[in-house]
Amino acid sequence: MTDTPVASGPVPVRSRIVEVLSALMRRPRAAFGMAIIVIMVFAAVFAGWIMPHDPFEQSFDGLTLSGAPLPPNRQFWFGTDLLGRDLFSRLILGTRTSLIIGVVANGIAVIVGAGVGITAGYFGGWIGAILMRFTDLMMAFPALLLAIVLAAIFQPSLMIVALVIAMVNWVQMSRVIYTETRSLTERDFIQVQRSIGSGHVRIILRHLLPHLLSSIVVFGTLGISTTVLLEATLSYLGVGVRPPIPSWGNIIFENQTYFSTAPWLVFLPGAAIVLLALAFNLVGDALRDILDPTLKGRH
């Protein structure tokens, strides 16, 4: 065999994270996604410095004489909203809310969903049965009603809306992961781990999770868009952020009927959501490719 071994000898033990990160950066698509995420996080953290206008200022020259919002122009790059506020500044500030919802809350939902699904699928038996029936229950759970109750009982806040989203959005994920885990658990390589004496946590994290990554990426990134939009509905019912605090979702929601007369109010925040979801998807896909060696070299 004319094998051409390049690096024989002990491989230096590099930090896995650094390795994955650098692998990510080597892929242009993933790097692009990372860049978008970094920019958005930057915008969220340093919004105060970046915003060209006060996002709450209902500026006098922000509306036409008859009260119509202004299209994008030199003063207001992304135009103004129905109260004459600068849309660009509001979008930047809205990044905070939307990242917290789309990334943190959705992330929690993903973790909970995956957690419940894996636990139910891996342990099976009565634990699995109880968890899955609970999932069914949550699936049929009237989320909007919950929102109304919470809205009336608690002071509205981002925390609560994030909580509601995390509470209701894990269900689909959990069901899909459950089915996959069920079949993975039957497979020999998991049995081997048990025979070696690996603990449940180790088996789940090190051996099951990598195989579930592709579903998790799909659901996680799709969840970004849905949760960001869901936040708007919940805020509308009074649980979420309060006006005048902007979020991408509620900018769209407030203005959607105006999309023919003031399209920038709908399409620009919409584009922001698509971009965010896309960025995570690019990174997620790349991550899966990196962690899934069977796909290596297939691109």
Binding site: L137, A140, P142, T179, Q256, S260
Partner: protein
């Protein structure tokens, strides 16, 4: 099989019981007094108290709940507080439209989602795949209202191919179904793509190729049925989603579905309607999941119903 269904139905009944309880608790907690809404502005405190007593709202929680349950067992969903109509009648009048739209929407979702998903998986990492990915994310992120009105404007108003909203004929169904299909298709296409890629790497696909089968035959007959299982689970979930109503699309197209009823009821805290709608949609979710679980073995004979 029959016993499996029976067992699942029994479990479902328990879940439904759980749902009614949770919903009832939530409604109990909502700080909005239905009696006051019924009584109107001109009513005195006594009148309100009187109404409360008539509706049994002054009873302790469990008495109210028990009453509701016994009514339910006799098929009585109660009467709407504000519309004063039998909830069963209200729900029944909207059920056909909801079911029809659901069927249409799922058909569109599948058509769109499967097509895109399959093409994207076959051409993965190509430029086409990238384009389709962006399309999927746009479709998922698009506000229903905007998509609905745009379609309506182009295909109904400008081109005149379809009526401007309404309910009745097949032509009425097309646009709302396509709107929903556009939105759900994005989900399905991403899921389909990923499960197709998994299946494409399996041994029997190699066998099929070794047997000289044509590409499309391999994709449609061999890969698709193996890849579609997660989608089927998704349809089960979707059924529930649709049953609890698609308010925006319904109101854009003037579609008399359950969503508008539910939304109005939630806004007005019309408890009997909320309970009724929740119950119906919960039933649909439970049945949808059951249906998905029953379909799975038809597609993959290895799956045994246990």
């Amino acid at each position: 099989m029959a016993s499996y269904i029976l067992r699942r139905l029994l479990q479902s009944a328990l879940i439904l019981l759980g749902i009614t309880l949770v919903t009832f608790v939530l409604l109990y907690l909502v700080p909005a007094d239905p009696a006051r809404q019924i009584a109107g502005r001109s009513a005195t405190a006594e009148t309100v108290a009187n109404i409360r007593a008539q509706l049994g709202l002054d009873q302790p929680f469990f008495v109210q709940y028990w009453r509701y349950l016994t009514g339910l067992l006799q098929g009585d969903l109660g009467r709407s507080y504000l519309q004063r109509t039998e909830v069963s009648e209200l729900v029944a009048s909207r059920l056909p439209a909801t079911l029809l739209l659901m069927a249409g929407a799922i058909a569109c979702e599948l058509a769109l989602g499967l097509t895109i998903g399959i093409i994207a998986a076959l051409k993965r990492n190509s430029r086409l795949d990238n384009g389709l990915m962006i399309f999927s994310f746009i479709s998922i992120s698009a506000p229903q209202f905007v998509v609905g009105i745009l379609l309506l404007y182009v295909f109904a108003v400008k081109l005149g191919w379809f009526p401007i909203g309404g309910y009745g004929t097949f032509a009425h169904l097309v646009l709302p179904a396509v709107t929903l299909g556009f939105l759900g298709g994005g989900w399905y296409s991403r899921m389909m793509r990923s499960s197709m890629i998994d299946v494409l790497g399996q041994d029997f696909v190699r066998t099929a190729r070794a047997n000289g089968l044509s590409k499309w035959r391999i994709v449609l007959r061999h890969v698709l049925p193996n890849a579609i299982l997660p989608i089927i689970a998704m349809i089960g979930i979707d059924i529930g989603l649709f049953m609890s109503g698609i308010v925006v699309v319904e109101s854009v197209f003037g579609w008399p579905g359950i969503g508008q009823l539910a939304w109005q009821a939630i806004q007005r805290v019309d408890i009997p309607i909320i309970m009724g709608v929740t119950l119906v949609s919960a039933t649909a979710i439970v049945l949808g999941n059951l249906l998905a679980d029953l379909t799975a073995p038809l597609i993959d004979p290895r799956i045994k119903l246990k």
